[in-house]
């Protein structure tokens, strides 16, 4: 049975098709692992054995009937930011601790339609605001590689769940690095698509112009399969792009001869740990062996990406989170004097410190008299950053660099200093601001913790980017390593 714990999605799919295992058996296997390991890891907020097994039975019926889609019967975990009908959907917040979603997010709908079996909902930083999973109302997630360390965030529960093999794959969302950074810190492959490729309908909004859902899994090939199921036009999301469906696996095996990898000068300066640097350099050497060339490129405005992001994202968040007012659903204070008091108390009690900080920042930068100096200025910077990437892609096919400046850090190491925490996403944020596809793949270890290599492609370059990742994974085994099982 342990074969299946480590198996790729294609291997699992083949076993299901050949009836070597049923979806119910497979689902039970992962549910049992969750039961055994989740109390230590805290990767899941909600697990529903009955719902999961019901879905598994339905998948087995489809498999029995023949002609089922590739992913039919394969379990997965959802970040608890995706609404799933009949499932508690908390977004990691006390505000929604008891909120049961009455509808499916587009991503959930698509993956259900693909026959996948939802195991449960994964822990996350509250409203996706955090890089360490320490802001969750449901407690921090432990990094399976070292339980004293953070798993990254905000999709830290999804990352830990897949890394510890509690699920074969998971969904995540990425606003400033929330798929790629935890993928890096937990030794996974995670992909943030081009903005607009995956519908945001039913994905609880943090920063609408930056949020994008994507897959987190053990390999580029797994991500390609999952992305194919998740992506697609959705008329309920006005920012969803109407494009023909893509087979993201189509170019996986293409040789890398002639590939030009751009190395942004700004991503290889001070700030990156030496161990991270060494792993990234080794990966680049591997790529040269595979026939790629590396060229130095420049993203001159990338130094402004963190400040611009911390104006735009909180501005949008301050407005997006206004609906959590205790009137229609969500947490409402028990006692209040009047309407204003009800708002103030409900929100003061329902939101954690980091969420409040960002609502305050966002409210401030949108205020009369500050809007031009902050919000408008940040939007201009955003356009400059996007233009930098366009310029860089004239001389390269993909961009590579570190995903995060360091490996997973200890709990509490950065939580006292928000700016230090924000700098965890220094390499990932610019990609969101530019709306580009990016991914993180495991490329080595530092201090016995995984290091991630970030790849960034031009708009809609997912297939090429996955090809670049897959060829590397054919000649390396970083992605196949799994952490030692922690004591239950």
């Amino acid at each position: 049975m342990t074969d299946f714990v480590n198996a790729s999605l294609r291997e699992i799919a083949a076993a299901l098709a050949q009836k070597k295992i049923s979806s119910v058996e497979l689902t039970t296997l992962f549910l049992d692992r969750i039961e055994q390991l989740n109390p230590t890891l805290n990767a899941f907020i909600t697990v529903d054995r009955d719902k999961a097994l019901a879905a598994a039975h339905a998948a087995d019926a489809k498999l029995g009937a023949g002609g089922a889609a590739t992913l039919t019967g394969i379990p997965l975990a959802h970040k608890d930011i995706f609404c799933a009908e009949g499932w508690r959907t908390t977004c990691g917040s006390k505000m929604l601790a008891d909120f049961v979603a009455p509808y499916d997010a587009h991503v959930v709908e698509r993956l259900n339609a693909a026959g996948m079996v939802p195991l449960g909902k994964c822990n996350m930083d509250e409203f996706a605001m955090g890089s360490s999973n320490e802001t969750s109302f449901f407690g921090p997630v432990k990094n399976p590689w070292n339980p004293a360390c953070v798993p990254g965030g905000s999709s830290g529960g999804s990352a830990a769940a897949v890394a510890a093999r509690l699920a074969p794959a998971a969904t995540g969302t990425d606003t400033g690095g929330s798929i790629r950074q935890p993928a890096a810190l937990c030794g996974l492959t995670g992909l943030k698509p081009t903005y607009g490729v995956v519908s945001r309908y039913g994905m609880i909004a943090f920063a609408s112009s930056l949020d994008q859902g994507g897959p987190m899994a053990k390999s580029a090939e797994d991500c390609a399969l999952l992305l194919g199921a998740m992506a697609g036009f959705d008329p309920r999301d006005s920012t969803s792009l109407e494009r023909p469906a893509e087979d993201y696996c189509r170019d996986l095996d293409k040789p890398l001869q002639g590939l030009r990898i751009g190395l942004p000068r700004e991503f290889f300066g001070a700030g990156m740990d030496a161990g991270v640097r060494a792993a990234v350099d080794a990966a680049l050497a591997e790529y040269r062996k595979l026939g790629a060339t590396t060229v130095e490129v420049s993203l001159p405005n990338s130094g402004l990406s963190v400040p611009a992001y911390y104006v735009i994202a909180p501005a949008e968040a301050s407005s997006n989170l206004s609906r959590f007012d205790g009137v229609r659903y969500g947490h409402r204070a028990a006692d209040y004097a009047d309407l204003d008091d009800m708002y103030a108390k409900s929100r003061a009690e329902g939101f954690g410190a980091e969420v409040k900080r960002r609502i305050l920042i966002g409210t401030y930068v949108l205020s009369h008299g500050y809007y031009d100096a902050y919000y408008l200025k940040a939007q201009k910077v955003r356009r400059l950053i996007a233009a930098d990437f366009q310029e860089a892609f004239k001389s390269c096919d993909v961009i590579a660099g570190p995903t995060a400046p360091s490996v997973a850090f200890k709990f509490g190491a950065k939580s006292a200093d928000p700016v230090q925490m924000y700098l965890s996403d220094i390499y990932t944020i610019a990609v969101n601001l530019a709306g580009l596809p990016g991914m993180s793949i495991p490329c080595g270890f530092d201090k016995d913790l995984p290091v991630g290599l970030q790849l960034v492609a031009p708009w809609f370059g997912e297939a090429r980017m996955l090809n670049v990742a897959h060829r590397y994974q054919l000649v390396t085994d970083w992605h196949a390593r799994m952490p030692a099982e922690p004591a239950a």
Partner: protein
């Protein structure tokens, strides 16, 4: 009073007649049970997103074309952020910096004076829900059926100088938006609501501080509220106080306005472009297609009525006050013939309008159809019916006692007698029976002549052609 000049600008919220809401698929029909027409998007569940209703944009384009405004090739939806229980998202989606319609205007008429009221802009936005304060024992109920109903907010320049002008503008706007079919115009149900910005100043001086009267949903309230506000502002200033910028409410029971909030506690709405919606792009081809489907507009129609049918400006304006009335008139004319344009106009604006008014019926539901009225008018024109007989025919048509004028004339024998050989014996009888009147007439009393005409008409049971009776009687008396 005359030493003060009044300055008024209006902001009108026009509810657009779309089947579904501006950003969701829920129905916009009025009067459903609370919260039965509020979908996931309207109640702002976590994760839901807005999608713009194309029909709402079509309405905005129609309006822009009808008032000769610019239709922005690219406009932007913005979020207006504030907390209120009937505002589910905590922000209203509206347009701020770049509205869909800019400029244009409307011609209004007060008495004999025409005036052009300039529009600043018109923008698309969503309505909020309703807070229900009764029946909840100290609590407030929220009905989100109205949340997300599409609105076009139409803003004028401060061009109006009296409450009469403001009402004339509101009426002209009301007529236009119902004419082009973008609004049902139902003011009781809130489909058309005005906010009035009112200030006073010394003529030629700088603009005074304005106060905004909110949510006026009848023309009468609009007039009363503005009149009260003007008096109040003048009294304040004359007593040495300054007007403070404020939002005020009009109380129809007292006829007074009272301040709701002052400038100091005005919201900072923190407008910013809604990242969930792309900019609204309107290509010239779309505008052209909407234009092709636009009905003839009231002013063009009035001019055509004057030029083609020889009607006065007043008649043309009255007939073209609504599309239904204009349609009725032109339908009647198609049967009666253009030569009878004035006669048709008189009947539509006279007898027909009076009856409709008496029975509280709309012209579209008139018991007398345009074709029936026209058939009757043809019989007036060809001399078959006198106007008196015509009224009897009209009564019969109104009551449904006959399928058309000819049938009624036939059955009731209402044909006018214009044959001299039939009228003369009657005249002779009347003259013989009324020697006193004949005598009086001969001594110069014109009144006696009218009495004789009356007798002849009576004796003919009203069927004699009155003109002919006149002529023959005069001839006989002067013989």
């Amino acid at each position: 009073m005359s030493q003060w000049e009044v300055v008024i600008g209006l902001e009108t919220h026009v509810q657009l007649q779309t089947k579904s809401k501006i950003f969701s698929g829920a129905s916009t029909a009025f009067g459903a049970e609370p919260n039965r027409q509020a979908c996931a998007v309207d109640i702002a569940l976590p994760g839901v997103l807005p999608v713009l209703n194309r029909e709402a944009v079509v309405c905005a384009i129609k309006f822009g074309l009808a008032v000769g405004a610019n239709i922005a090739p690219r406009s932007v939806f913005a979020r207006k952020n504030y907390f209120y229980p009937d505002l589910p998202k905590g922000y209203q989606i509206s347009q701020f910096e770049i509205p869909v319609v800019a400029g244009g205007g409307l011609t209004i008429r007060v008495g004999e004076t025409e005036k052009f009221v300039h529009l600043t802009r018109a923008h698309l936005e969503e309505d909020a829900g309703k807070s229900l304060h009764e029946d909840f024992h100290g609590k407030t109920g929220i009905d989100l059926n109205r949340a997300g109903t599409p609105l076009l907010e139409i803003v004028t320049e401060p061009d109006m100088r009296s409450s009469a002008e403001a009402v004339a503008y509101a009426k002209a706007l009301h007529s236009l938006v119902t004419w082009i079919g973008i609004c049902d115009g139902n003011m009781q149900e809130g489909s058309f609501r005005c906010d009035a910005n009112v200030s006073v100043r010394k003529p030629g001086g700088p603009l005074g501080t304005r106060r905004e009267i909110k949510n006026l949903n009848s023309f009468r309230f609009l007039q009363q509220a503005i009149d009260y506000e003007i008096q109040w502002q003048i009294a304040e200033i004359e007593e040495g106080r300054k007007i403070q910028q404020a939002t005020v409410l009009f109380d129809p029971d007292t006829g007074e306005t009272r301040a709701m909030r002052s400038k100091e506690d005005a919201h900072d709405y923190r407008y910013f472009p809604d990242p969930d919606l792309l900019p609204l792009e309107i290509q010239p081809e779309w505008i052209a297609a909407v234009k092709a489907g636009l009905p003839e507009l009231p002013q063009a129609m009035q001019q055509r009525f004057q030029a083609s049918y020889g009607l006065s400006a007043y008649d043309a304006a009255t007939l073209a006050a609504t599309r239904d009335s204009a349609r009725f008139y032109e339908d009647a004319l198609a049967v009666a013939g253009k030569d009878n344009a004035k006669l048709c106009a008189n009947w539509v604006m006279g007898e027909l309008a009076a009856r409709l008014n008496r029975d509280e019926k709309e012209i579209a539901a008139s018991p007398v159809s345009a074709a029936q009225l026209a058939g009757m008018i043809r019989r007036i024109a060809d001399g078959t019916l006198s106007s008196k007989l015509a009224k009897e025919v009209f009564d019969a048509l109104w009551n449904g006692d006959g399928k058309d004028a000819d049938a009624i004339i036939e059955v009731r024998g209402l044909r006018q007698v214009s044959d001299a050989s039939a009228i003369e014996p009657i005249i002779d009888e009347v003259l013989a029976a009324n020697p006193k009147s004949v005598e009086e007439f001969r001594t110069g009393k014109e009144k006696a002549f009218n009495a004789l005409v009356g007798q002849v008409m009576k004796a003919s049971k009203g069927k004699a052609n009155p003109q002919q009776v006149n002529d023959l009687l005069r001839k006989k008396l002067s013989a």
